[in-house]
């Protein structure tokens, strides 16, 4: 998977916050009970009747400069295929430095293994040749884009080139690869 740089984008105009992505991920990845790798963030602004709502499906941002990888003392958190950020549970001691280091609070400890856990960009699917992540696959409004940021013709690159977008906490200096289209 060399030469690929994976990124994800959420279309905040079409996302309705149904949380199918949360359930889809849970089913696909068998995350621990009471824990999830992705979640829905809803921001309601203004005073009725002048209100607007901002809905996002959030997960690990697979940062280019990921603080979790920087602080990991055992090399368990590492940069994986396609520039993604991955955890090797066999190397994880559960010290939780990565959890405190993540500005997005995207990580948790899986109590069954004691290892840090988070979104993998469904790398097991991508590596098996399935072109979608589970959250993307299940999204009823097709609001999740996933693909190669270095390929100008990929769906996500075209969306980022033609739409206005933002990333979360850009001033944290983490260079996130998870985008929000507006």
């Amino acid at each position: 998977m060399s030469g690929v740089r994976y990124g994800m984008a959420i279309d905040t105009r079409t996302c309705v916050g149904c949380a199918a992505c949360v359930i889809g991920c849970k089913t696909e990845n068998d995350t621990a009970p009471d824990f999830s790798r992705d979640w829905i963030y809803t921001l309601l602004e203004g005073e009725y009747p002048n209100i607007r709502m901002n809905i996002r499906s959030e997960r690990c941002n697979h940062c280019e400069d990921a603080p979790c990888v920087t602080v990991c003392p055992t090399g368990s958190s590492h940069y994986g295929p396609g520039g993604s950020v991955q955890v090797n549970p066999d190397k994880c001691s559960g010290c939780k430095a990565c959890i405190t280091a993540c500005p997005y609070d995207a990580r948790h400890i899986d109590p069954r293994s004691g290892a840090a856990d988070k979104c993998t960009f469904c790398m097991h699917r991508l590596e098996a040749g399935i072109p979608t992540t589970s959250c993307q696959e299940i999204c009823p409004t097709k609001s999740i884009y996933m693909g190669d940021l270095d390929d100008p013709n990929s769906e996500i690159s075209r969306a980022l080139a033609t739409r206005d977008w933002y990333v979360l906490k850009p001033d944290a200096g983490t260079k996130p690869k998870h985008f929000y289209l507006r």
Binding site: A19, V22, D34, F35, S36, W39, I40, Y41, T42, L43, L44, E45, G46, E47, N54, E58, P67, T70, V71, C72, P73, T74, G75, S76, D90, K91, C92, S93, G94, C95, K96, A97, I99, T100, A101, C102, P103, D105, R107, H108, I109, P111, S113, G114, A115, Y166, V167, L168, K169, P170, D171, A172, G173
Partner: protein, 321 residues
């Protein structure tokens, strides 16, 4: 008005993070005490002097390997996958303060134990030496330590300083927790460690002269610690919105009362005044001020670890539009 909801309810992360519990501040406190004991012991050996150390002072360096073992036990208890702890020693990660710490802890043992042995009174050493005399290598190591005591003393200062600084840097390098995110946390924890190390020694039966000199040193250390705390707050107060928001947890926020009473008033100002009064009246420094210093050092780490986790990067709403 802004109102947000979040479907994420990950235990220990939402609504505010508290993944590091009581084990971490306890370890940071013990690590600081050990750093202080190692540095002070190293300085004593380098200075030499004619005065024979008191029995208690000559045994004091043993507190370093013992207390660090207790501290490391707490650190191990905090691990969620404790039987993978050996993974720390299969690698060295330059960018990870915790990796530095793991190796520093490993270095603390030989240098502190060897120096402690050299300083131990001969009456205690003789029976032990007799028992292990068939291990010739141990006698050779002892010989080496006795010849190279000055080097060992310097190594104790180096390893002690590394230990003290790293415990602060560990928290200080986390940009995600703005209350911690200050380079001053390294020196702050080092100076606090020296102060609590001196206070720990004052709990034992040292000679009057030793008590006075440790207490004098502690006054200076508390002064430096107060200055570092003020500088740390200045840095946050004049930083960006994340830093200012973080500082608010001890300026009106939930940790205000605990921080200002336990750390600043009882842990720093009260013992400083007490030591100064003892000094002024020529009294032999007692254990009261030392206990306050120790409690203050513990409170500093306890409050910082919990308060720091409750702070985060606050640009989220501003970047939304």
């Amino acid at each position: 008005m802004n109102e947000f909801t979040n479907t994420r309810h990950n235990h220990l992360i939402d609504p505010t993070m508290h993944v590091w519990g009581w084990e971490i501040p306890l370890y940071l406190f013990l690590g600081g005490v050990v750093a202080g004991i190692m540095i002070l012991a190293g300085i004593r050996f380098l200075r030499g002097g004619d005065e024979k150390p008191s029995y208690a002072l000559s045994l004091m360096p043993w507190a370093a390997p013992i207390a660090i073992s207790v501290g490391m036990f707490f650190l191990w208890l905090d691990l969620e996958h404790p039987f993978n702890a050996w993974r720390f020693y299969l690698t060295f990660k330059l960018t990870s303060p915790m990796s530095w710490g793991a190796w520093i802890l490993l270095g603390v043992y030989p240098v502190s134990i060897l120096l402690a042995w050299v300083g131990t009174p001969e009456t205690l050493k003789a029976p032990v030496r007799e028992k292990v005399s068939r291990f010739a290598v141990l006698l050779r190591v002892e010989k080496w330590a006795e010849v190279n005591t000055a080097l060992l003393a310097k190594l104790n200062i180096l390893m002690g300083a590394s230990l003290g600084i790293y415990t602060g840097v560990l928290l200080g390098t986390m940009a995600s927790r703005p209350l911690w995110n200050s380079a001053l946390l390294g020196p702050l924890f080092l100076v606090s460690g020296l102060s609590t190390g001196a206070a720990f020694m004052l709990l034992f039966g040292l000679s009057d002269e030793e008590r006075k000199s440790l207490s004098r040193a502690d006054m200076a250390l508390i002064g430096i610690e107060l200055a570092l705390l003020a500088l740390w707050m200045m840095g946050l107060a004049t930083g960006g919105s994340s830093s200012q928001g973080a500082l608010a947890v001890i300026f009106g926020g939930p940790y205000t009362a605990a921080f200002w009473t336990l750390v600043v008033a009882l842990g720093l100002l009260a013992p400083l005044v007490g030591e100064w009064l003892e000094h002024k009246h020529g009294a032999v420094p007692g254990k009261g001020t030392a206990i306050l210093v120790l409690l203050g050092g513990f409170a500093l780490r306890w409050i910082l670890v919990f308060a720091g986790q409750s702070t985060g990067w606050v640009s989220e709403i501003a970047m939304r539009q």
